[in-house]
Amino acid sequence: MFDLIIAGMGDAFEPMNLLLVFAGAVLGTVFGATPGVSATLSMALLVPLTFGMTPVHGLSFLGGVYCGAIYGGSISSILINVPGTPAAVATMLDGYELTKKGQAGKALGGAITASFFGGQIGVLVLLVAAPLVAAAALHIRSAEFFWIVVFAMSTVGAIGGGSVTKGLIAAVLGLILGAVGTHPFTGSLRFTFDLPALYEGFPVIVGIVGLFSISQVLYLCHGRGMDKQIDIPTIGSLWPGWAQIMKVKATYIRSAVIGTFVGLLPGAGADIASFIGRNEAQRFSKNPEEYGKGSYEGVVGAEAANNAVVGGSLVPALTLGIPGNAVSAALMGGLLIHGLLPGPRLFTEQAGIIYPFILSLFAANLFFALAAFGGLKYLAKVVLIPQGVLAASVAVLSFLGAYAYRNMMEDVWLMLFLGVVGYVLRRTGFPLAPIILGIILGPLAESNLERVMTIANARGMSAMQYFMSNTITVVFMVLTVAALIYSVVREIRHHRSGKTMLTEE
């Protein structure tokens, strides 16, 4: 493993790659800071730029976008009390209060240092844990893998923000879309409606662009284009000072660890991590009463957690091909375009690509922090972009992305169709992330189930008997049932208390 890491450094820190990581981190920060452009949307809009790049360059660029976008959301949260991304909602609670007291610089500096630190911890865990998980995953058998995937899908309802029922329905919608295309074993065509664009299955990238970008374009059209006058407050010095940082060092560390673990879980994203990070920070705080009134610690608690999610979420995405959230699903779409199939073999057969990519994430965290310290005044200007300009621009960028994927207009129409569907689903309270997980995980579950049925058949057993004969499989079956029961109980409790949790991305 160490020789692979050392070998990867050459490709990761080569000048052209660093330039692309820097470009990705800055673009990600700018997109993330723009209210109405989430981290998933930033990724969906920027993936097409990597079509012509080498795999290492393309992935490193996208890694930069991921880290930058999650950080960038804090800028508009703190300055104008509008979250740049859903991951930065928790940052707003204390960040904007500090701005109101004229301490915007302190809040912004807290967000930069916390995002940097949390991000690096997450990537460190990724670098150490992913090869170990991948090595173990090589021995996972089809029956076990099938139930791991089913378990991952079932947690969507347990962990996600909104209604469990709607989360699970969305996941099933995704599974149906995932079934489109050529049957993996028999080669017959399913649900293709005679559209050649669907023969190879539903294109994941087109799906992500449609569901997230086009539905967002339509959301941005709710208000009129140029309503309110926005003023950027004066920022002041960004560096919080070592004394301030050391005073809350426990929060930096605690939230970084929390964020990494939340990232590892399927179905939970940076938005949930930042709330948990801030809540735990408050619970352990010496001054819990300051929270909500402009606590530096509160900003750090939220921001260290959401950036730590990046590294954590890539562990299951890269080693098992199971993305933990919509952003890493979009990044996986970028992997697929370069012909890289996420899974344990990535770490042996494609070690020359995957290690440089992971190492480049350290640079990505450094670059967004440097860019923010150096140019926040200029980055912050994106909050002035009128919604009408944003809506039209996102639409054109989406067209570009969907078309350039395979140079097919059919993909543009698929994108528009899914965009309208995505908009209707969002208006009716359905989360979109489970749909993407379903598109990606459906074929994975199916091919493993087919293999199980073939083996079980050969042994004269039913698939269920075969499942029950394996301990690991039974464990995941029990976990799946437990996750579903927990979801239902939680849903009932929420109905009774009449409160909803956070909104999803």
Binding site: L49, F51, G52, M53, I214, V217, L218, C221, H222, G223, R224, G225, M226, P386, Q387, G388, V389, A391, A392, S393, A395, V396, L397, F399, L400, Y403, A404, N407, M409, V412, W413, L416, G419, V420, Y423
Partner: protein, 79 residues
Amino acid sequence: MTASDLRVAVTVALLAGYALLVPVVGFFTASAAFLLIHMSFLGVRKPVWLIAVTAGLLLVAWAVFEWFLNVPLPHGMIY
């Protein structure tokens, strides 16, 4: 139907028109038309915004896809 629902419906129609227009007149012409019409429809009136955003986006699209990545965009009758 509220005013915002109407704006969404018109936007869907504009997007469909945009997709129909791309193969006929070319990506750049269709995008310019879509951007100018959609932004003005949403109430962006300042010519600075309209022209700068349209020119900027098309320039970026051309530079990145046609020049840097060598991905040809549909050119149609105009460009």
